[in-house]
């Protein structure tokens, strides 16, 4: 692989009391891109992010974040990675500045440097003193405690906090949740600008129409499994050209051998047998190759159907609950 990978996960699995909520996930995120981890509520997005941060341990599989293992070398990962939790919380009795300074302190940033960076990031997210004053009313002159902040202001402060350590990679879990359309757009503009500054972004969302405009690549997660993953422009093109395919072949008593042969064909993603019917999902129209394989292995070809899925179909299929 020529491009450097910020994240690479193989077979990442998480179970809670025997229930698999993330199921053998394979995931690659390239450096300096915005990756959208999309999926309906309960799909396993947050759990996946927690495993990548070492905040929970995977049951199986491995993940490498910026070349380090979050479980074995957590500090090396956390030094370079920022995380905005799903429900961001601050010390409400402290001001925005004090909250940021504490985080800078935990990162070992010197006092002067921290002050400078605090100014910088607060300006970036639009929470300078005059802006805070405008939002909270001009009555009190001194800095305001975070307890008085609106949801949108807290979310922006969360981004500021993530950026204060100048991370190479940030995880933003549902950053647009609870914001008004204007706030969402401001936030997305901010996110879109991060790769240029050398920061890779992984953002999760259950509203993909909302965030897809800033994503270079996406992965769609449903019930803990990665349904589709790739560069968004490529997925878009595929969608226009017909997208992914589902081929159904009816034959007689398909054996393990046949399934194995079909699975080995180039472009086949998976094979499932239900009685006499084989369901084959593929990247391209492989009807010719599949029928050839069936016949050459001395199975009768009784019937064959092909179904196309566009990206929109996939969206609809997995996001219907929304």
């Amino acid at each position: 692989m020529s491009e450097t990978l910020a994240i690479s996960a193989q077979g990442l699995t998480k179970r809670y009391d025997g229930v698999t909520v993330v199921d053998h996930l394979n995931l690659q995120v390239k450096a300096n891109e915005v990756f959208g981890l999309l999926g309906p509520n309960g799909a396993g997005k947050t759990t996946t992010i927690l495993m990548m941060l070492g905040l929970t341990e995977p049951a199986e599989g491995s993940v490498s974040v910026l070349g380090f293992s979050p479980t074995r070398e957590p500090l090396k990962v956390k030094r370079q990675v920022g995380y905005l939790p799903e429900r961001v919380g601050f010390y409400e009795n402290m001001t925005a500045r004090e909250n940021l300074r504490f985080i800078a302190d935990l990162n070992g940033i010197s006092y002067n440097e921290a002050n400078q960076r605090t100014d910088e990031v607060l300006k970036m997210v639009g929470l300078t003193e005059s802006e805070i004053m405008e939002a909270l009313g001009p009555k009190r002159k001194i800095e305001k405690t975070v307890g008085k902040f609106s949801r949108g202001m807290k979310q922006r402060l969360g981004i500021a906090e993530v950026l204060i350590k100048r991370p190479r990679l940030v995880f933003l879990d549902e950053p647009t949740a609870g914001l008004d359309p204007k706030g969402i757009n401001q936030l997305l503009d901010l996110i879109a600008a991060l790769p240029k500054a050398g920061t890779t972004v992984v953002l999760s969302s259950h509203q993909l129409y909302q965030v897809q405009r800033v994503c270079h690549s996406i992965g769609i997660l449903a019930k803990g499994k990665m349904v589709i993953q790739g560069a968004i422009d490529k997925l878009g093109r595929e969608a226009l050209a017909g997208g992914r395919f589902q081929i159904e072949v009816e034959t007689e008593n398909p054996g393990e051998k046949l399934i194995k042969v079909i699975r080995g064909l180039k472009g086949v993603l998976g094979v499932e047998a239900k009685g006499n019917v084989l369901s084959i999902s593929t990247e391209a129209d492989l009807r010719r190759q599949v029928s050839k394989a069936v016949v050459e292995n001395n199975y009768p070809l009784i019937q064959m159907k092909i179904q196309e899925f566009s990206l929109d179909d996939i969206y609809m299929k997995y996001f219907r609950e929304e």
């Binding site: 956390k78 799903e86 504490f102």
Partner: protein, 309 residues
């Protein structure tokens, strides 16, 4: 970790909880002084340990408990108040996720909070001892001897250990239980158990196992020893015994003394070295109880999932 200690201290000092603590310290000091004013003459302490009497004498005409008794009752509550919401309140407010995604070891969060608590505890107990010493000296007009100063310092250290144990326990519960109310209730329940129930249970168990109806001397002794063995599991009892030996040098042994020997008992204080020898097991006992709390806290916290919900 220094960053966490600094933040925790800043938090405490500006919090209402701390104001309440300081008020409590003042009230305790005044009560202790009042008790001493009432009872110190009647106690008729031998020379050399009169000053310690400020901390150990209870009121005679008006029943005011002694300062050391009040401290043994309230220090656990202060320890609990400092620790019961240490982790779970940060978990539910969503700040724990952010803190633990910074490049720090997880145990430094516990350590930082614990050490900040110890500092606050030391400030409180120290203030109280100094207040009582200062006003007490003016009241009785007797300065402390060197040995008494050392004994008071020992008392200070043991009290901090004792408070720290309860704080460690409360922190453990704050890791174990997601809800602040649950960790508070469990801490208080344990405090009640160790300070009151065990005192009722120990004789009951001992009487059931070793009946003393016959009044046989050997049985009475065994019964008493059994009671004491049960009580030694209680940190409250350990602390009370330890502070008694440290502050009341007249107490010569913690075992049973039959009434036939008592008349021959010498009424002269135990030397400092002897006292330390007697309380050494108590001190190590308190420290190892705290160590157990910590070990369990670490094991639980290290592998716990930190989810912001």
């Amino acid at each position: 970790m220094v960053a966490i200690i600094r933040k925790e201290l800043a938090d405490y000092v500006t919090s209402i909880r701390f104001l309440g603590f300081m008020l409590l310290v003042t009230v305790l000091s005044i009560t202790g002084l009042m008790a001493a004013a009432q009872g110190i003459r009647a106690a008729n302490l031998p020379q050399g340990i009169v000053f310690l009497g400020l901390f150990t004498t209870a009121g005679v005409q008006v029943p005011i408990p002694s300062l050391s008794y009040l401290v043994s009752l309230l220090v656990p509550l202060i320890g609990i108040a400092l620790g019961f919401d240490a982790i779970n309140s940060e978990r539910s407010s969503g700040t724990l996720s952010r803190v633990l995604s910074q490049p720090i070891y997880r145990d430094s969060v516990i350590n930082g909070k614990f050490l900040a608590g110890v500092v606050i505890l030391s400030i409180m107990v120290g203030t109280m001892l100094l207040l009582v010493s200062g006003y007490g000296m003016r009241m009785i007009g007797v300065p402390p001897t060197h040995e008494e100063v050392i004994r008071l310092f020992l008392y200070f250290v043991v009290t901090i250990f004792y408070g720290a144990f309860w704080m460690g326990l409360a922190i453990l519960f704050s890791i174990l239980f997601r809800r602040v109310a649950a960790s508070l209730l469990f801490s208080l329940a344990l405090w009640l158990f160790f300070s009151i129930f065990i005192m009722l249970i120990a004789p009951a168990i001992a009487n059931a196992l070793v009946p003393t109806a016959e009044g046989v001397q050997a049985e009475v002794v065994r019964n008493y020893e059994l009671q004491r063995t049960i009580l030694l599991f209680s940190p409250n009892y350990l602390f009370q015994e330890a502070t008694t030996v440290i502050l009341v040098p007249l107490v010569r042994t913690l075992g049973m003394v039959t009434s036939s020997i008592q008349p021959y008992w010498l009424r002269n204080p135990l030397s400092l070295g002897q006292s330390i020898l007697v309380v050494w097991p108590h001190i190590t006992g308190l420290i190892s109880l705290s160590a157990v709390c910590f070990a369990v806290s670490y094991i639980l916290f290290m592998r716990q999932e930190i989810r912001a919900t």
